[in-house]
Subunit: 414 residues, 2 copies
């Protein structure tokens, strides 16, 4: 029986094949996301992976349904696996925002699901680090969130030579559109042309822009000017004060596909341009009001960083650590009459916090030692008799004999 | 817009209401599960939350479908959210078992889904700590797994006065059934009568047992004898050697509902009997063969421990820690001309591993200090000028002035 296409199993290392995903790597990624988020004062939240379908159509329109894992549940409710976290966050904030001081700084690591057409390497689920800052309109909030994004990628060992944040602004494009005499009814259509301009041919873009009363030349000139707005300039200065200026450039080609962004938008890319976006986000000042039916009105911004592109990039750049069994001690049981006391030693060492393995059933001494080596333990421990333990460090080959109750004091954790 | 009934949101503490679930408590539970599993040499794995429906019906029969979140996906596949982890584990092990030395010791923390009829406090999803030991038939494996279960509950501060493992054996019941002349075709039916004996009236049980050729008196006598089989005795001695004998009692009333158990079975209960089972498990020596279509034949056993009963029990017993913002330092910015340098201080302290907060926008000094207190930070730090930082410990009220580059050396982590 096979798993569903586009879904992943996560195995412990060492992995059977290169194309199998590692649960150790996943945990390392999650731990790193959590560590950096906490340094920035972001608190973790989560919601259900299954939500009312309406939560997602309210925000993104009916056309999103084609990409959803949606169905009718046994209580006749229209439901869907979550394709993104922001609607759930908006729902949760709207329900209990009075309990939390503003600005609210929250993060989550949801698994997200999209029924995309099968393509090589395209998955139907991924995990996404979501960080959001709610209740502050000042660009200082944008700078704080972008700093978190940069420091998260740095925590994986990536540098300014590896990645860049392309910073842009929907406001800047709104002004451009308005000054060019654009019709408000077609504004989002215009944004979508800009969003696709890197992938489309000049002829295609020209044709579509002309239909809205714009020229590709004017659009290109605006992009190439790269002149920061007052707001973007404030963000750049803030990041410069933190020593993070080298990680950001203004790039108006970024505008983000989603309909709900209202201000600053940004994407993280590898400098070599070999991968899809590592992360993306922006301001969505109207969404909480929309989701809450007008009850709660809070400015907000956030970003999402998926695990798939990130892990592919870290592998490619050799920045993923090696993972092993994480075991500290292997207790050898060569004399079966000492097994009960050896079990007590195993129990004591585990109670002291060490990761301990031992032969479950009688085994030859050389087989036990081989297993200890396979597990890459730091120490072996063996009862000499009912009072003394022989502890051997497998790398230094130092060997000491300790009293039974004193054994744990001679072992250092990995 | 509301979330679906039976599903939970997880909020950061402090919580708005008592009946809201805490993401901090959830993370504490997950961290504790992982910590103890690693000490025992168990490695983490995970599979998809969505699997082919057939994976669950193969194991539990078609009748389980009524309790599943199942549907037809956009590729016409019959799929289901996972109601339990064991079939996925069996599938994963069968696919790559040659890569892993036996015994395989694996754990996972999946979210599981069941469409149960709405009852007070009954949820439709929960997280479950799953630990499984694969490829070893000796009762030493059963003892190792039960020791893990006991030490996991102890790691939450629970003692032998709080909980007990009720240990039983399907083999013992199989022998009883065979010796009583039972018909193999009705064996599972007999097990289900035993499974319900605590909740059913004596008359009901008597009637059903008589239909299979047994008497309630004989069944009760067997239960009350409580005589350990050779296998159970071996497990009890193994646990005694580890100092864990007080946590276990033989109790033949436990037999477990699921069809696939083949040997030892057990459940963890609070001693006061106020809650449903905290955990349950047993041997399933035939399941991997079944799931793999006969390709892989490995003995196995495992247990599952849900987060809902556990957290309710820990709350009731006052064993759940208090959670706060986990912040170390609040950087006060009273002189706005020092903001850029203060941002550098924030960045440096975060880079040194501290959790640091600061006012995003200009604010009065007393308001900033109040925010620092609300966040329960250990320290405030404030630039005196462009070279010196004033660091104050909020509990001891000790205050020191350090050079800018030296500030981090005067701060201890929470």
């Amino acid at each position: 029986m096979e798993r569903l296409p586009g879904f992943r199993d996560f195995y412990p290392e060492p992995l059977p094949h290169n194309d199998v995903w590692s649960c150790d790597a996943r945990q390392y990624v999650f731990d790193t996301w959590r560590k950096v988020a906490k340094r920035y004062g972001f608190r973790e939240y989560d919601g259900p992976p299954l939500e009312p379908l309406e939560l997602f159509t309210t925000k993104s329109g009916e056309e999103i349904v084609g990409q959803l894992y949606n169905f009718t549940d046994k209580g006749e409710r229209e439901v869907s696996l979550r394709p993104e976290m922001t609607p759930t966050l908006a729902r949760m904030v709207a329900a209990h925002e009075r309990n939390y001081k503003k600005p609210v700084k929250w993060f989550a690591i949801p698994q997200l699901f999209r029924y995309e057409r099968q393509q090589k390497g395209r998955l139907r689920e991924h995990f996404q680090f979501n960080a959001d800052l709610i209740g502050e309109t000042d660009p200082a909030a944008d700078a704080e969130l972008i700093a978190l994004l940069i420091d998260t990628l740095r925590a994986f060992g990536l540098t300014a030579e590896d990645f860049v944040i392309r910073l842009s602004s929907r406001n800047a494009w709104q002004d451009f559109y308005k000054q060019g005499g654009g019709d408000t009814a077609h504004e989002y259509e215009f944004f979508q042309i800009i969003d696709k301009i890197e992938r489309a041919t000049p002829e295609e873009s020209e044709k579509k822009l002309t239909a809205l009363g714009f020229s590709l030349a004017a659009v290109t000139a605006f992009i190439e000017s790269g002149k920061p707005t007052v707001e973007l300039d404030s963000i750049l200065q803030n990041l410069a004060a933190r020593g993070l200026r080298d990680f950001v450039k203004v790039d108006y080609r970024v505008i983000r596909g989603l309909a709900y962004y209202t201000g600053v938008v940004f994407e993280a890319f590898d400098r070599k341009g070999e991968f899809r976006a590592i992360a993306g986000g922006g301001r969505y000042n109207n969404l909480i009001k929309l989701i809450s039916g007008g009850k709660v009105d809070l400015a907000a911004l956030g970003f999402g960083m998926g695990d798939v592109v990130l892990v592919e990039l870290l592998k490619e750049r050799g920045r993923l650590p090696k993972f092993d069994s994480h075991m500290d001690v292997f207790v050898l049981i060569e004399d079966e009459t000492l097994r009960p006391l050896s079990l007590k030693l195993v129990a004591d060492l585990r109670a002291a916090g060490y990761a301990v393995e031992y032969p479950l059933t009688p085994a030859k001494a050389d087989k036990q030692f081989k297993r200890a080596q396979e597990l890459k333990v730091t120490y072996t421990a063996r009862l000499d008799n009912d009072a003394y333990v022989r502890i051997r460090h497998l790398h230094t080959r130092d060997e000491i004999v300790a009293g039974f109750a004193d054994a744990a004091n001679h072992i250092e954790k990995k």
